[in-house]
Subunit: 273 residues, 2 copies
């Protein structure tokens, strides 16, 4: 683990990341020593920093540190955290923030292989996501909603759950983005009020046209998902998990989601199964 570039295991107890969740993070899959979609991750981090007015560490520096901690790992996860650092008066950000960066290596989380083939059955989480346009899309450090949602998924013995917002729209999984295929349309929930804009989500939206899919970013009801031809969940680590069923209703198939996963693996965008 590198803390501001130096090997370490601790951070200042006064850091604003701890006190307020005042920062952002990235979770990057490492495959055969190579961090996947690294540039996309770093660009997202940079744009998140810009939105929160945190001076972003140099991206070359972060890329180098990511490579350094990933070195020699066949399969692992690198997590980058950037906080606004210490200082400021109470909630108020300091005038000249000195961001803290943490680049750490984590074990690859093993999920059942069936998740990527047969797909996953998901329930709707009880907790709803609050609608906050000022923070929507950001992978920031205020993640109590996800902690509570993930606790529900764990308690249910499931692999993932779908979270609605307080208006009842389906937004995402507890740790993943959500897509639905309807004819030649590829729907994914609008994230302008809540949710995290995942890098695999963006990658898919950018590639969809080449796969003859028309992207539709819109409000999606749970019904929209349940009645789709197919649906699937994505993140940098799980890649693509087809949805076998949502809230007890089985979807028509998983063939096209599986094909999207195959192409993304071939492009080096997501890890192979």
């Amino acid at each position: 683990m590198l803390i501001d570039g130096n090997p370490g295991r601790t951070v200042p107890a006064l850091d604003r990341g701890l006190h307020y969740g005042d920062g952002l993070f990235e979770t990057i899959a490492v495959q055969a020593g190579r961090p996947l979609l690294l540039e996309r991750h770093l660009r997202r981090l940079q744009s998140g920093c810009a939105r929160l007015d945190i001076p972003c560490p140099d991206l070359q520096l972060l890329a180098g540190e990511t490579g350094q901690v990933a070195l020699g790992s066949e399969r692992a996860v690198v997590k980058i955290i950037v906080t606004r650092g210490s200082g400021g008066r109470g909630y108020a950000p300091p005038g000249e923030p000195r961001p803290l960066r943490i680049v750490s290596l984590h074990e690859w989380p093993e999920y059942p292989a069936v998740a990527r083939t047969t797909g996953v059955d998901v329930a709707l989480c009880r907790i709803r996501l609050a609608r906050q346009p000022a923070l929507a899309g950001l992978k920031h450090l205020n993640r109590l909603e996800q902690v509570l949602a993930r606790g529900e998924v764990l308690a249910a013995g499931a692999l993932e759950g779908v979270v609605l917002d307080t208006s009842g729209f389906a937004i995402e999984g507890t740790m993943s983005n959500l897509f639905a295929i309807r004819g030649d349309d590829l729907w994914t929930p609008d994230l302008s009020a809540c949710g995290v804009e995942g890098v695999v989500r963006t990658e898919i939206l950018d590639r969809a046209a080449a796969w003859s899919l028309r992207t539709v970013v819109r409000e999606c009801t749970p019904e929209d998902i349940a009645t789709a031809d197919e649906a699937f969940l994505t993140n940098s680590i799980i890649g693509v998990w087809p949805l076998r069923a949502i809230a007890g209703r089985t979807l028509r198939g998983t063939a096209r989601a599986t094909e999207i996963a195959r192409r993304l693996v071939a492009e080096g965008a997501i890890p192979p199964p």
Copy 2:
């Protein structure tokens, strides 16, 4: 600063407080070496832990550590942070969490004396609070909304601002709770969808009857505040700040808010000016 009871300045970089804001905090005024409303702070922390399913550290232990760091301070602030500790798989809480506790001493923040006498002029912040009943009321570590709101207040050169929720109701100040006096009624915003249930707020609600005020916890519009006889802001450090004006509209007076402040000081509930 005490970290799990030991003098220290750093915390584990894998702590969930940093990664997810998975924890709670208290900010306690110390006056002549004595932490004010300590029992109320600790009880709130305990009930917050219960809501988030974090095992709460022993309250006697926390009281002892608070006293230890406050020892000899004429006027200071003690901050207690309790996190869910390290561990768990991603967002999912660990099965047997080992909470981390940080008890730290901070300089007394000096605000202009006029804030407690003439009162403060507040604007309405542009950022709105998201409505999230699952976290409402809690003094948790997900405070990006407050960071952004406080940034607005600072940029405006003001002492405090009032924050509305996404439905347009006035909820609180960026670091304080909000009250309005209308006849013999004492209004304060309902915090079941968002906001922090401050200990001074609770103290006032508990004492109001003895002051011949009827408490009314309800949805308050900015108009309700602007047209009240008086209004005021409270927290453990500032005590009571009368509102001189809100969004450019001057309130009728400050006498009763000042009287409430005087009584709370006399009771040892808030620090003297």
